[in-house]
Symmetry: C2
Subunit: 393 residues, 2 copies
């Protein structure tokens, strides 16, 4: 009998050791933090961000806690986008995706091999909450392009803002197919929400971001997006036994451009780029602006254009009179001034070369618009360049 007890106690000792050993391996996150502090101590995860105020880059950094961003597509670009915004302390992230993590995704940043098989939104939410428990994460595990899901998507971006019932502050498209981009475009045109498009080419060596403001800039249906990458839905490709190439570099850089411009927009500093491309082979970065097409197929785009044109355009008016909103750099009073008037010409990087590699038009411009009112870029020089570009592609 006492032998039996000894044996059981030995088993208990062994199990206790195992529990202790495992506990040492299990990762512990940090506690939530009520207010962002600028205090310079090693334990403050926000000190380097709050320092942006002392450096005169951002007037009020903590406003980022009031912002909600929707990210559609949590793959190579979307997951890094979510990671960056989470580390910046964004108030709330709403993630949309319906794909699963696979080992084949490990050549891009963010996901880890242990997450293979999990849904991307679920895996991302766990990691993001672990990295920064102050960020509210909401996940939607469905394809936004079906009719029912599109309605859910529309309702979520319209009413899922930081204040319940208010729209999100920004929508970021990180999807890999045309249909999803058109769905986001339709939703944002209908609800007049500003959004960023992003993409990488299937040969992995170019990418771009584009800022779309309904009525103000060309929408995704207005024009063939000039330097949209050759994206093909990965599912289609995989059926054929081939896959698109991808690199953590190109996707990380594209996510970096996307979040940097999102931060400039949300926190009111610097100049937000309307379009920024990246060609990795020669480190070339085309920039441009596209005006909306007055004969766009999307009727909500036309409505937004009318509203935009009807708006008074005074020289200096701030949307919100609070001093917190005064831009520290350049003019970026969204909805009033569109193209930076003082952009020096030597910084114009829109040239007719170097975007050909791995890039093609996402779709052909509708016949009726091609001769009547092709989307007009901001200045004549750019127009010629764009035309030359289109011809050469």
């Amino acid at each position: 009998m006492s032998n039996a007890i000894d044996e059981l106690q030995a088993i208990i000792a062994e199990l206790k050791t195992e529990v202790e050993e495992q506990r040492a391996v299990i990762r512990q996150s940090r506690d939530r933090i009520e207010h962002m502090s600028a205090e310079v101590v090693d334990s403050n995860p926000y000190s380097r961000l709050m320092a942006l105020q002392r450096m005169n880059i951002v007037k009020n950094y903590e406003r980022i806690r009031d912002k909600t961003v929707a990210i559609v597509g949590v793959g190579g670009v979307g997951s890094v986008t979510a990671d960056m915004l989470t580390r910046c302390g964004i108030g709330k992230l709403i993630l949309f995706d319906y794909d699963k993590v696979e080992l084949a995704n490990m050549n891009r940043l963010f996901f880890t091999p242990d997450q293979a098989g999990l849904s991307k939104v679920e895996a991302a939410a766990r990691t993001l909450t672990f990295i920064n428990p102050d960020v509210r994460i909401e996940t939607h595990n469905y394809n936004i392009t079906t009719i029912e899901n599109f309605d859910n998507f529309l309702n979520t971006i319209t009413g899922g803002g930081t204040v319940a019932g208010q729209p999100v502050d920004l929508v970021l498209s990180c999807v890999d197919n045309f249909e999803a981009r058109m769905a986001i475009n339709a939703a944002c045109n209908e609800k007049c929400l500003n959004w960023f498009e992003s993409g990488v080419s299937e040969n992995a060596v170019s990418g771009h971001i584009q800022f779309l403001r309904p009525g103000d800039t060309a929408c995704f249906a207005c024009a063939p997006p000039l330097v949209v990458a050759e994206n093909i839905d990965e599912k289609t490709l995989k059926r054929e036994g081939v896959c698109a190439a991808s690199l953590p570099t190109t996707m990380g850089i594209t996510a970096g451009f996307l979040v940097q411009n999102a931060l400039k927009y949300l926190l009111n500093f610097g100049e937000v780029s309307d379009y920024l491309g990246y060609n990795a082979l020669n480190d070339f970065f085309p920039k441009m602006t596209l005006k909306p097409n007055p004969q766009c197929d999307d009727r909500n785009c036309l409505l937004r254009q009318q509203e935009f044109q009807a708006r008074p355009k005074p020289v200096v008016i701030k949307e919100e009179p609070s001093t917190d909103d005064e831009p520290l750099h350049a003019s970026n009073d969204w909805g009033i001034e569109l193209v930076a008037e003082d952009a020096p010409t030597e910084q114009e990087q829109t040239t007719s070369t170097a975007v050909g590699q791995g890039l093609r038009l996402a779709y052909e411009a509708p016949e009726k618009t091609s001769s009547v009112a092709a989307p007009a870029p901001v200045d004549d020089t750019s127009l010629e360049d764009l035309m030359a570009q289109m011809k050469s592609m």
Copy 2:
């Protein structure tokens, strides 16, 4: 007695449940993979990288397994650099740092809150091995600028290559202070090793990478690095109760540029940039090339310059005659042709503006060189621009 046994068995059942619960939380990595396969299946972590061959971007991707890269500094830029190279399946990484992870680092990618207190190289090595167990990780937890450690550093980069006793294929500098950069410069000049410099400004909104090839381009001591960011050792700043600002975006983009150009160099595709800058406020990307200073203070730099000038410079000669090495894009036969001769002028982005913000000369050029042989950029236009730049800063 049987009561005691029941009690013990209840404890055992409880502990077993706890062990099971913990086991579910503990992350499992993947098994090692002998050869990189191009097979398109969800379980292949290299399919998207091997696709670079089918896309005609890289001739032989698997050669990356033969490459060793040393990363000095595993902070905001260096850790993401290591992450990207690990996911790309680099053969071996050698990491140098002597700092600890802090919660104050959580506003940049890669490290997680549970790692606070661990040495950066140790924390990085664990995560990287977890992400890709095929990559050999070697860590050096010391400051390379002390005399003894400098010798260790020198020996490691000279003999720590993939083949024992051979040098590493590339050194990447991701440090945050001038002394460490000068130490890397001295080592690479002495051993004639190519390296990349990188940096971000203390206001977090600009960054750069620079490719240094001893004898061929300006070394770090040749000239005031023109657009080197205002880096101050974080330790100095913290003593004063202030800290540099940083953003995951700028650091991720800088790491992306660094690794992308390292990949182009190691795998022989595209054009490697000699210098690529990034200004986040207006998405401006200056590029330039600096020739070595014939009166450089570093005697090894002068030796390398003599060797370089003595080398025959035929129009077309490959360093290795293997067909695997034929470049797929442009000319990048290192050590033979330096500046891409066919770079179209419309892509020249070296202008006299927009690098001022947040940037200053890292140090003053030595008196003797300023009037005699200031580092000459590749063409005269650039020289004027650079001078204008220097004056305006």
